[in-house]
Amino acid sequence: MAVINPLTEATEAIIEAGGEALKSCYQCGLCTGACPWNLVRSFLTRRLIHGAQLGLVELESEDVWLCATCGACVEWCPRGVEIVDIMRALRRIGAQWAATPKSLKTVMASLGAVGNPMGEVREKRANWAKGAKVKAFAPGTEYLYFSCCVPAYDPQAKRIALATASILNKAGVDFGILGSEENCCGESARKVGEEALFQSLAQANIEAFKKHGVSKIIVSSPHCYHTFKNEYPALGGNFTVLHTTQFLAGLIENKRLKPKKPLPKKVAYHDPCYLGRHNKIYDEPRRVLAAIPGLELVELPDCREDSLCCGGGGGRIWMETKKGERFSDLRLEQALGVGAEVLAIACPYCLLNFQDSLLTMGKESVLEVKDISELVNEAI
């Protein structure tokens, strides 16, 4: 075996790329045990960090690209290490060295070209809203509704945007969309190490928002929420950002919205990583569900801080995950285990992953996956 020496330069490069947190790690391994990958295959988070500490990471290895940035490790890390930052730093260097997996390269190219990961035509971004009484955002409009690329283009996920628009109309909320002027929030790009791409997407959005006088934004995706709220301010974009579940909870509390139609179903709520762990929003979605008459809210075995990721964060949504290694399959089993008839979600990525699992597992007849906005829309 070859003798290897620590590569100080590599360590410094990782730190330079934003991986400063690796210095705090004392190698206890809690992260590894907390990581959902280890429910399906081996993935040694700790060892990756130790490699980074010594500058001995193989950037081409699959490991660098596995992390779904779900934050389960960060939640309980005894040294408060921002492991997600370390992963992002590793990928940034990986991207510089052209080690990015092929499937991601295509998606990133689309993001750069048309502002959405699916490579759909920019001009069709507002098509979902046809016939849904959704106006274009004009100066003076109170809220911008930012649907996220997935509901805008994906025929399945479109229902999230439609349900949201329907509720907002019924509650008399003054809102509009920017359609073709909207770009992907850039969260995936940043997490897979494409920092420059992220910066350009973010700048484009910030400029568009500012140009139209946007100050308050309602988002359907926790990923957009996270980026707008926590990352855009550093780039000069300061907006009031509300996730739909927060906004709906507010409407219900102010009695502007009153779910009246009973929905006598057993519903389990899946905490999306970027809404829950990353942004500590646990109660609003539950409050909204609890306001629906007849609905029985059950908790999944892993809930709130301990929520099990669907597998779609950190750019993983655009990568193929082998059958047998999908966290979403495990999550559906948990939902079935507690006897849920509906798995309520609050993130378009979760919807895509769970819908796929539902089909491949053949459980469509016993379990539905629905966004909270859909459930509310059915109840009013």
Partner: protein, 1124 residues
């Protein structure tokens, strides 16, 4: 006077010189006003450095000195001493901090800042004045706060040196955490065995005044002269009288979690925390006043501890509940069925929602016990004989109590079966005969002989009984029916109520006709009507001359009768019974109306003329009331009252004949079962007194049931949610009338506990003043009048040894503490493993089985930014100890999940090796991510799965175990902040008390005369704690050896010309150092009390107060230098 200032710039090695150009600063200093010399030197604090200053003072005749070096905290004293040694007043010195405040925190500009600081110091020292310090004597007493091992050790060391120590402990016993531990690492000594001798030394030491259950409230004064106020919480037990016998806790009905056993075992509200407690004195855990008035108890003729047995039922302790009832009531199962419950009528909960179902709960408690299997207590016979005439409730109660007192009791009963009215008056569907037989049977087992079919006056005569027994109690009741006094009363078909019930109850075949009329409105009438229904009557009609409101029968009984089909005609009285063929054919009645109230307070019924009507009947049962047959007393010459009852002295139950007592219905006329029992018990007390030749102690105060006020009702409603009474299952009316099966079916366990939990008294935590302990305490140590007391003591020094709190791991949801039964904390394991603990030292799972495998998780709450960043220092070692004990006792597999093993003390590394080699414990390096019950394989089913990356192996493993022990952190006490403020000491960021210097002054604090020892300073093991405690004792003794202490002269002074005596300064002074001289209208400063804080100088509106060494001139010059 000319200023001759010397300025000295210290390099502090490279600490200052590396960033500050010291030479340049010295040169700059030399140019300042009044400076005659300015030097720099490697270490000013070193001996040559000090000599340098001394020489300059002498040779250059310096009269002011400035040293620019480190913090005054470190070396101000040093340089002041240098000045003094060289003959200069030490207060003509000033220090500039160019290290902590300059070189350590700046890179650029440090030199310039150093110059500024030096200039400021020079300008300030220019105006310094010589000050003289003061010496004060030291009070030789010491206060030690906290009775754990640290406090115990420090107190003993000081006391053994001959000085007085006050040891204050807030718990009822000293011992702290150490007394809870099982074995101690690494030697495996039993913790209690090595600690209890020290505890008992403390308890008996002539120089130690032990104040347990006490807390320090206020601290005033200064080193050598502290005044401390201590609150001694009421124990409600006189410590002088209590012998620690423990009888009180056996009787206490309030069951609580034992703090000492960490909730793994229970204790009573009155308790001694653990067997080796010092002092070994009981304490009552009384936290608030009872929300209700316990009117139930005051209304009960025998003063039953209702709240007590209800609480025990609520707690599921049914046997204890029964025993508590039987302490005062010999017939619990009977009263649980037929008592007319005056308690429920006044129950305070009845003012809120529904009264408690007290009778039903008594029955429930009694029904859980098989009376035939009850133990018979040991009774010492006194060799005297008592005859009791009549085996009804009065006779039985007297017999029971007298038998327990050691008398030989014989009961004479005229009827073939004992029980009196209980047997012949109450129908079986209300009181099953076997219940009656069992309770009487138990009384017989106490040694009471019952001679049935022995009528006094026939088989034996009273005069003979009086001669052959030491005392006679007449309790023959009232069994003769009152006559109707109307025509036709003697016709066959007319049978009097008591006779009717007696015949039925004695099993005779009694036939009733088809149409039955019952006359009367009491319980006998109701019983008779319901029995008639059961015997097959087609219709039963009760005729009552008043209205429903006046009916003396229990409303519930009336309702039950009506439900069974009994008709009641109110305001009707019979006037004639007509016959046909020698049999009853109809009854002629007249309607009544109610007139003015009569002697009984009820409205008198008056016949309405012309309202006569008839009812066709074939049976008439008059039930107007009963009287006693007193023929048998005439021979002995007993006095009989005009009402036809035996005349007695009410307070003693004496009749006019010596040695003959009477009680119950024969004295009062028909009354209730409970009244008869009360009379029997009173007779027993009176007879006992009589036979002992003691004079009868008249009954104590009569208890009057109290009602809740409106305000109390409002508060209670706010605090406790409304709950209605739990309904008891009854047989349906149709089912009932088929036979004599008991109508009320009794509560189920769940119903009973739910109903009992409604009792207002037990809504509160802790003692609810039932005073059961008081009854049982022989030395009369219980004192409910005790109040918290405030003591004031004077001490010269204080040692704080307040210990630590155990970290509560329930905040780490991943580890499942409080979620999974068998995830326990280290401290809980100590109790589990302790031979005196809740499992008698067996290591058991919650299901009582021994574990096959155990995981010990290290660093729970320690070395973790989410909780405590520090290492708790003892966990690795106690985890190894646990592993050893588990291997030794339970032979289970043990896994240690650790991050780093820290085994640093004497014999620790050796113990680590022993546990790995000899005990074969497995070590997994990795911090556990999660404990779950979700198994992925069959072998993990039903187990706890510990998920951890073995970082040495580089793989995630899932270890299935039966028990998980969390090695929890030691953390600062929850009230550490309050305590720190009380004693004016500081805390570190980690919450523990701050020592004066982390390395060199680990025991002193920034407040002179206050020392810290043990885990209140930082987590540490027992050896280190003891060492620190001994150190604290040495600190105190060294102060005492000096006898005097110097007090800084930096204090406030008043300009008498300017002061107007407004007193504002006195209000802000935290030390009480300022007082008003009323005569001169000016403020006076107490030099010893003043600490020089300057609050007074700041607030004085006329600037009459100034602080020496911090005069406005001195400060302004300094500030000016910095801002210029």
């Amino acid at each position: 006077m000319e200023r001759r200032i010397g300025v000295y710039i210290c390099h502090c090695g490279a600490n200052i010189a590396a960033t500050v150009k010291v030479k340049e600063v010295a040169e700059f200093a030399a140019s300042l006003r009044g400076v005659v010399v300015a030097r720099d030197y490697m270490f000013m604090c070193s001996d040559p450095g000090q000599e340098l200053i001394k020489n300059d003072i002498k040779e250059l005749m310096l009269n002011r000195v400035v040293v620019a070096s480190c913090s005054p905290l470190l070396h101000e004293r040093t340089f002041r001493r240098v000045c003094r040694d060289a003959g200069l007043n030490p207060y003509l010195f000033e220090m500039a901090n160019i290290r902590e405040q300059c070189s350590w925190v700046h890179e650029d500009g440090a030199t310039e800042k150093a110059k500024e600081l030096v200039r400021a110091a020079v300008m300030r020292v220019y105006y310094h004045q010589p000050l003289e310090s003061m010496e004060v004597p030291i009070n030789p007493n010491t206060l030690v706060v906290g009775g754990g091992i640290a406090g115990i050790q420090a107190a003993l060391d000081i006391a053994n040196a001959g000085y007085k120590v006050y040891l204050v402990e807030r718990e009822p016993s000293i011992g702290g955490h150490m007394i809870q531990l099982d074995k101690t690492f690494p030697t495996l000594d039993c913790s209690a065995c090595i600690l209890t001798p020290k505890m008992s030394d403390v308890g008996s030491h002539p120089n130690i005044e032990l104040l347990t259950y006490s807390e320090v409230e206020k601290v005033a004064g200064y080193i050598g002269n502290f005044k401390v106020k201590i609150k001694k919480k009421a124990r409600y037990v006189d410590e002088e009288k209590c012998t620690g016998c423990g009888l009180c806790f056996q009787e206490c009905p309030v069951i609580m979690k034992s703090e000492f056993e960490l909730g793994l075992a229970e204790r009573k509200a009155i308790h001694i925390p653990f067997p080796q407690a010092v002092p070994n004195k009981a304490v009552i855990d009384k936290r608030e006043e009872r929300p209700c008035k316990a009117a139930c108890r005051d209304a009960c003729p025998i003063y039953t501890n209702v709240q007590g047995y209800l609480a025990l039922i609520a707690a599921g302790e049914f046997r204890q509940a029964y025993e508590l009832i039987r302490k005062t009531n010999p017939l619990p199962a009977i009263c649980g069925r037929v008592c007319y419950h005056p308690c429920e009528e006044v129950c305070n909960r009845g003012q809120i929602d529904d009264a408690l179902a007290i009778t039903a709960l008594k029955r429930f408690a009694a029904d859980q016990i098989d009376v035939d299997k009850l133990e018979i207590p040991q009774i010492t016979k006194v060799g005297k004989r008592v005859a009791i005439i009549g085996s009804g409730p009065a006779g039985l109660a007297a017999a029971n109590d007298l038998a327990l007192l050691g008398y030989n009791v014989t009961i004479f009963e005229a009827l073939p079966e004992p029980g009196g009215m209980l047997h012949v008056g109450i129908p079986e569907y209300r009181l099953p005969k076997d219940i009656l037989r069992k309770e009487i049977g138990y009384i017989e087992k106490l040694g009471v002989e019952i001679k049935t079919s022995t009528k006094v006056g026939e088989q034996v005569i009273l005069e003979d009984l009086r001669k052959s027994y030491d005392a006679v109690f007449i309790a023959t009741g009232a069994h003769e029916s009152l006559k109707l006094g109307i025509p036709g009363e003697d016709t066959p078909g007319v049978i009097h109520g008591v006779n009717f019930l007696r015949d039925v109850n004695m099993g005779q075949r009694v036939k009733v006709g088809k149409w039955v009329a019952v006359i009367g409105g009491g319980n006998t009438a109701i019983d008779a009507s319901r029995v008639a229904m059961r015997l097959g009557a087609s219709s039963v009609t009760i005729l009552y001359r008043r209205s429903r409101q006046e009916m003396p029968a229990t409303p519930a009984e009336v309702e039950a009768a009506e439900a069974e089909g009994v008709q009641i005609i109110f305001l009707a009285a019979p006037i004639r019974i007509s016959t046909e063929n020698g049999k009853v054919s109809q009854i002629e009645c007249i309607r009544m109306e109610l007139g003015k109230p009569d002697a009984s307070g009820r409205r008198r019924p008056i016949p309405i003329e012309g309202s006569e009507f008839t009812i066709a009947v074939d049976t008439v049962i008059p039930a107007l009331g009963q009287v006693s047959d007193l023929e048998f007393v005439k021979g002995l010459g007993l006095e009989v009252s005009a009402e036809g009852t035996i005349a007695i002295d009410e307070s003693t139950l004496f009749t006019n004949i010596d040695g003959v007592f009477a009680g119950g219905d024969v004295v009062t006329g028909p009354q209730t079962v409970i009244a008869a029992i009360a009379a029997g018990k009173k007779a027993a007390r009176s007879i006992d007194n009589y036979l002992k030749g003691e004079c009868f102690v008249a009954e104590g105060e009569k208890y009057v049931p109290q009602k809740l006020s409106k305000r109390e009702i409002a508060t209670i409603k706010e605090r406790f949610p409304s709950q209605s009474r739990v309904k008891m299952t009854e047989l349906g009316p149709k089912e009932r009338t088929k036979g004599f099966t008991e109508v009320e079916q009794g509560y189920t366990t769940e119903q009973a506990r739910r109903e009992a939990r409604r009792c207002l008294a037990s809504q509160i935590e802790g003692c609810f003043n039932c005073h059961e302990c008081e009854r049982r305490c022989d030395p009369n140590a219980i004192d409910f009048e005790q109040k918290d007391r405030l003591l004031e003591i004077e001490v010269g020094s204080i040692i704080l040894a307040t210990g630590y709190d155990a970290f509560d791991p329930s905040v780490i949801s991943q580890y499942g503490y409080k979620k999974y039964d068998n995830v326990i904390t280290g401290l809980e394991f100590e109790r589990l493993s302790n031979a005196a603990g809740p499992t008698a030292g067996q290591i058991l799972l919650k299901n009582g089985q021994p574990p096959q495998s155990v995981a010990i998780i290290h660093c729970v709450g320690s070395r973790d930014k989410n909780y405590h960043e520090y290492c708790s220092r003892v966990c690795c070692m106690y985890a190894l100890k646990f592993a050893h004990l588990i291997r030794e006792k339970a032979k289970a597999e043990v896994y240690q999940m650790y991050i780093d093993m820290r085994c640093f003390g004497e014999g620790y590394e050796e113990f680590y090796e022993r546990v790995s080699t000899q005990d074969g414990v497995k070590f997994i390096r990795g911090k556990v991510s999660r404990v779950t019950d979700q198994a992925l394989s069959d072998e993990g089913k039903g187990k706890l799965i510990v998920i951890v990356e073995d970082t040495l192996l580089g793989s995630v493993i899932r270890v299935p175990v039966d028990m998980v022990i969390l090695s929890i952190a030691l953390q600062a006490r929850a009230d550490a902040d309050k305590v720190a403020k009380l004693f004016a000491i500081g805390r570190r960021a980690d919450g523990f008390f701050m020592e004066r210097h982390v390395k060199l002054e680990p025991i002193a604090t920034f407040t002179d005369g206050v020392f810290i020892a043990g885990c209140c300073e930082s987590p540490k093991d027992i050896p280190d704690t003891v060492a620190q405690a001994k150190g604290a004792a040495a600190e105190v003794l060294s102060l005492l050896a000096r006898r005097k202490v110097e007090i800084e002269p930096i204090i406030a002074s008043v300009d008498e010309e300017v002061c107007s005596g407004c007193g504002l300064c006195a209000k802000v002074c935290p030390f009480g150092a300022l007082t008003l001289d009323g005569k001169e209208r000016l403020m006076l400063v107490n030099r010893a009390l003043c600490k020089g804080c300057g609050a007074c100088a700041g607030i004085c509106p006329s600037s009459a107060i100034s602080l020496s060494h911090f005069t406005p001139r001195q400060i302004l010059e300094q500030v000016e230098a910095l801002t210029y």
